[in-house]
Amino acid sequence: MTTDKLKQRLQKPKTKKGARLLRAREPQAVEVLKKALFLFGHNTSQVIKDVLADLHKLKWQESVKYTRKNDDVKPFEAGGEASLEHFCKKTDCGLFAVGNHTKKRPHNLLLGRMYNYHLYDMVEFGVVGFKSLGSFGCARCQLGGKPSFLFVGDKFETVPVLKLVKNILLDFFRGRVVKQLNVMGLDRAVVVMAAADDKLAFVHCQINLKKSGTQVPQMELKEIGPRMHLEVRRFREAPADLSKEAHKRLETKKKEKNVDIDTLHNKVGRVYVPRQDVDSMALTKPKGVKRKQREDREQRMGKKTRKPSAHETE
């Protein structure tokens, strides 16, 4: 066979819908929504299954849930995150939750994030005491709305793990980033309370706004589930350089000031001159004044005056 040079061909999406999907997956200037991927590790327990099911409901329509167990999802091990990264790339998810159950780490919940489809950071919790969404009965709030967040405890400011936990939980459950909000539609709250360095209570509540005497209504919290008592196990923070890159914001172009184009298409600008007090300024003096000053000085000093010039009159 002849050694013809391999030519390259443009592969464009075959359908407009496909093209739209691919374009939606490209990086956006302002990120609005992060999807979550829920999956299991190599072994599960009923508790952890219920936990993932409930969290998947909390992130209604903004998450993907895998049903099978995955033996090779071990993000804390070197190279064990490859499978997870691949799944996140396939489903275009920036958040993940892995549920696992081992003797050493029972009912293990791993919440984490991706940056550019690579592992960014994650926190591992042990679920101790879980009450599912279903066990609480009917709730009045709607799925898909934005929740409010309430973090109780000074530990969230002082303990580094809990700072990370706060950030991850905010990212996980905040939903679509919006500019405008219907305040009466605020019907649920994610309440996270920390009493010890590694113990948290995650409580999902319904908000009832009651009439108070003023414009600001009374916020009443009613627990609707799920409720989890979490024990912080392992965690991995993002490397500093990756973190720096991930926190970059798009530079907003500054409008060029004082530049105009007049009717003759000339570029014009204004020169703003401050108020000047001409009288008190150190300006150059006229020749006659200088001469007079010099003569006065010489007379005072008693020096020999020089020959008077033609202009001078004595």
């Binding site: 061909r9 940056y115 409010s148 109780v152 405890g153 905010l170 980033v177 219907n182 600001v216 916020m219």
Partner: protein
């Protein structure tokens, strides 16, 4: 965007009804991040609010909740058509990392650079153009477009035209050539953009083999595997089945040998029924092949297929004669090598020197094993 510090809302600013436990409030206040709808209570949890598990109950969140409500309802807003109060949220304070890197601007294409240099500006073109000849508005591109050069009954011959050439075919081919060149330029643009670090999701570059004459371009893996099997077969096609040939550099011993087809041996310990079945099958097949009465279905099919193949071949040869342009160059050379199943007389057409039709070997059962796709060597 995450420039301002957390808003400190002191409980004193809130209305009287909520506080409930005014004895524990200190002057610090809550941290409210309205953009994220988040409120934090930075005070340590008071012990009387812990439940038996040692964890706070939701009453401890009441203060933060009220702080958030106060901040929300003090935001500027307006009522919408349905009477809902819509507020404008400020930018979020908590810095949440991005999911994907910031998008990079698409680098300029070769044309864009040229146009910029020359000062050529894009002009918006209308979709509909007035066609004077027809006397109606026609579209600029597409079906029944304005000034479609092909849409005429007669084309005047130019002095440069050769006799026997079809100008319409020439136009089609010229168009194909333009399209091919344009795609080449687009690919070059994409490659140079990729070099500069811009790789969009919606476009991919794939390696494609040149088209040999007609037919579909094959993907690389398939082509290589076919070449390899052809090379292996050639290697085994010596008098001693490639046994004494030196292996090529990089080839392992015995790589070229084809697996020998073995029949299941008739073992002595097996029940006689199996042996009887095998022999019966063999006998049936032999009898079937050699019977003279009865319809040889396979043969009949073979005849029909051969006739169809001949007809198609004739048509193609005619078209080849008319359209002398080298379509890819390889269509004429090797693609017409006749294989078994073609009757000699029907296969030959006077003057077509490039076609090699083997003298009829009789219509056999179509040689399925060596069937090849059209247009390939």
């Amino acid at each position: 965007m995450a420039a301002s510090s957390p808003v400190r809302v002191s409980l004193d600013e809130l209305t009287e009804d909520q506080s409930g436990r005014d004895d524990q409030i200190d002057a610090d206040g809550f941290e409210v991040d309205v953009g994220n709808l988040c409120a934090s209570d930075p005070r340590p949890v008071s012990p009387h609010l812990l439940d038996p598990d040692g964890l706070p109950s939701i009453e401890s969140a009441a203060g933060a909740a009220q702080a958030l409500a106060a901040a929300l309802f003090s935001l500027p807003g307006q009522a919408d058509d349905h009477g809902n109060w819509i507020v404008t949220l400020p930018d979020p304070i908590a810095a949440i990392p991005r999911e994907k890197p910031l998008p990079t601007a698409r680098p300029e294409t070769r044309w864009e650079r040229f146009a910029k240099r020359k000062g050529i500006k894009k002009r918006k073109k209308e979709k509909r153009v007035w066609d004077e000849e027809v006397g109606e508005w026609r579209r600029r591109y597409g079906y029944k477009r304005v000034g479609d050069a092909r849409d005429v009954a007669v084309l005047d011959a130019k002095p440069t035209d050769e006799v026997g050439e079809d100008p319409f075919t020439k136009m089609d081919e010229a168009k194909k050539e333009r399209v091919r060149k344009q795609e080449k330029r687009m690919v070059a643009n994409i490659k140079s953009a990729a070099k500069a670090g811009y790789v969009p999701n919606s476009v991919k570059l794939s390696a494609k083999l040149p088209e040999y004459g007609k037919g579909h371009p094959m993907d690389r893996k398939q082509h290589l595997s076919e070449v390899k099997s052809a090379a292996d077969q050639a290697g085994v096609s010596t008098a001693s089945m490639g046994k004494f040939d030196k292996p090529l550099p990089g080839e392992t011993e015995g790589a070229r040998s084809q697996p020998v087809k073995r029949r299941k041996p008739i073992a002595s310990g097996q029940p006689t029924t199996i042996e009887v079945e095998t022999l019966a099958k063999m006998a049936d097949r032999l009898v079937r092949e050699r019977s003279e009465d009865g319809l040889a279905v396979g043969r009949a099919i073979g005849h029909l297929e051969a006739a169809k193949r001949e007809a198609r071949h004739r048509e193609k040869v005619e078209r080849y004669m008319e359209g002398e342009e080298d379509e890819g160059g390889r269509g004429g050379k090797g693609g017409w090598k006749g294989k078994g199943g073609r009757k000699g007389k029907q296969g030959r057409k006077g003057g077509v020197g490039k076609v090699v039709a083997k003298a009829g070997k009789g219509a056999g059962k179509g040689r399925g094993g060596t069937r090849r796709r059209k247009g390939r060597r």
